[in-house]
Amino acid sequence: MKADPRGVLTGIHFLDGDHACCEGALAAGARFAAGYPITPSTEIVERFASRVPKVGGTFIQMEDELAASITLQGAVWGGAKAFTVTSGPGFSLMMEHIGYAAMTETPCVFVDVQRGGPSTGLPTLPAQADMMQARWGSHGDYEIIALCPNSPQECFDLTIKAFNLAEEFRVPVMFMMDEVVGHMTEKVVIPPADQIDVVPRKHTRKSVEDYLPYGTNGDQVPEMAHAGEGYNFHVTGLTHDEHGYPNMTPPVQDKLVRRLQNKIRDAADRIALFEEEQLAGADVVVVSYGITSRVAQRAIEVARDQGLRVGKLRLITAWPFPEKKIRELANKVKAFVVPELNLGQMVREVERSAAGKARTFAVSHAGGGVHKPEDILKVIVEASKCQSI
């Protein structure tokens, strides 16, 4: 299905990442947002509030993030594509409802423009320290998808992707921006609507009698119905059977929670997006994402000028983590270098996936700015000198 042209601002623009994210949401068909103001994400919903009455949709500013993160889910079950936008402290408040969306299989998008933490931290300055929270923040076993844009153009393109993945898998998708990507202004090309692919809701075509709200047809993703269509379905955050009815027995729990996990894990290769460069023959591979990938690019180029064989792997999908890709590379390279604006989060995944076949070097940064390329370079040089395992 192609995008609804009413929401697509086709043309060449000079936009910051926050505004580009909003345009991506509109192009993807989002017609509902619920938000609560928080720096550095607010510009996304400010623009949405300005644009959406002219394209046929609704924005509501809620009383807090707890409300925003569940209001959007009400809107999804009412038939809308919906999202919310926040930063660290608000993201923390939304965690319960990320679990609710995972459990009830409510397709929706949570945008987190990351800033320095913990707590109020650095409201106006960048970090990438919510990456583990995005994956594990709500209680219980569940899977989500998380994407990491590194430019305003990607804030547009990948927001559409985020909505499409949410609909395809009926899962909450975390859109993990950072303050720098959110506030940097660059060229953003918005294509014509007929060149934008949009995944529609996986709506059931079954009759009321035949419809099983949480039954699956082999692909692990149930078909959805909306309120007011006569299906009289039940949705609950309790452990539920295929009817959607509460059934709190270990076998039903096992079946449900494994399906929620496997519908994402089994498709991990397809969901995993990354950008790679000169991986063949590399001694060292720099693994990075978001704004840090752009700083790392400079370090990689200088290292290559010095004769080092350095490959680049930029994670676009952070979760599910592309462990297969890292595992394959670990057999070929000496070391991974992982710069990120935190004290060591995704580097743990790299290390785990490398499984002792290659060394892993973190280049940590507590946030508040970006790395200096020379700090990353220093570690690349060090890593190049290490012995293969």
Partner: protein, 292 residues
């Protein structure tokens, strides 16, 4: 059983998920009684059931969503109202009922309660007030009357309790009523009236929890509580809500306290956009009905 009695169907049965019976509520609990009154209000008001959605939070009353044969949502603790807000705004054709307990709506969900009333979101809120956190074993709620014994105030409560009709009237509700589970017909009528209002309607139903509130406070069983409701309830329609606070064994003022009109959220939103944007305003797409 005589043959001619077997085919008799309880008039509320079509509204219930009978495949989920028996329910979880205790003997003497009033929640089932309120559901009966609710179902009868649906019969009497001839409301289109296809357009009706019911949203609950967490707790004993939160389980209502699982027993009604409607599009029903059992959400998170305290968040039934914001979920219902999203549902209503995304599809304004829906009639959205929030059915939850006093702890869920006025403690953990208290912020959403007052803001939804302030915005005048077109929701019908039925708050079953059993004066206690029942599902978790009888802890103090914001509604627990002074000096009651609870599991978390074993020597008696001393915090003042919320007067919910007063709270929601002050916050902006257009319809506020209170009944007890003794007043099944009046409750049913009030629910029917709320369906006719456009805006935030709030109906409080005082309901026994014999297992955890009445027993622990030596107030007898479910039947004793019904007798108390019968003897001590006083109908005062239009009573000033600041005079309707509850005590443990005193008078219960019941009736319709507030019935007023002001534009609901979506009417105000539409008006504002039409004024500011004129022809540029595009009203929200109405979801199509897909059901075959």
């Amino acid at each position: 059983m005589p043959e001619h009695l077997i085919d008799i169907v309880n008039p509320v049965e079509p509204f219930l998920r009978t495949d989920r019976m028996p329910h979880i509520w205790c003997p003497g609990c009033g929640i089932g009684t309120t559901v009966n009154s609710f179902a009868r209000a649906l019969v009497d008001s001839k409301i289109d059931l296809g357009s009706l959605a019911l949203v609950s939070g967490i707790g004993c009353t939160g389980r209502v969503a699982g027993y009604v044969k409607l599009d029903s949502f059992h959400t998170t603790h305290g968040r039934a109202i914001p979920f219902a807000t999203g549902l209503k705004l995304a599809n304004p054709k829906l009639n959205v009922v929030v059915y939850s307990g006093d702890g869920d709506l006025s403690a953990i969900g208290g912020n959403h309660l007052i803001h939804a009333a302030r915005r005048n979101i077109d929701l019908k809120v039925i708050c079953v007030n059993n004066l206690i956190y029942a599902m978790t074993g009888g802890q103090t709620a914001p509604t627990t009357p002074d000096h009651s014994t609870t599991s978390t105030n074993p020597y008696g409560t001393f915090e003042p309790s919320f007067n919910l009709p007063h709270l929601v009237e002050a916050a902006g509700a257009v319809y506020v009523a209170r009944w007890t589970t003794f007043h099944v017909r009046q409750l049913s009528r009030s629910i029917g009236e709320a369906f006719k209002k456009k805006g935030f309607s709030f109906i409080e139903v005082i309901s026994p929890c014999p297992t955890l509130y009445q027993r622990r406070n030596k107030l007898g069983d479910g039947l004793d509580t019904m007798k108390y409701y019968k003897e001590k309830s006083k109908v005062r329609n239009g009573a000033p809500t600041n005079e309707v606070g509850l005590t443990m064994t005193g008078e219960i003022i019941v009736g319709k306290f507030v019935d007023r009109d002001r534009p609901d959220y979506q009417t105000m939103m539409r008006g504002q956009f039409e004024q500011s944007l004129g022809e540029k305003y595009i009203e929200q797409d109405q979801p199509e009905t897909v059901c075959s």
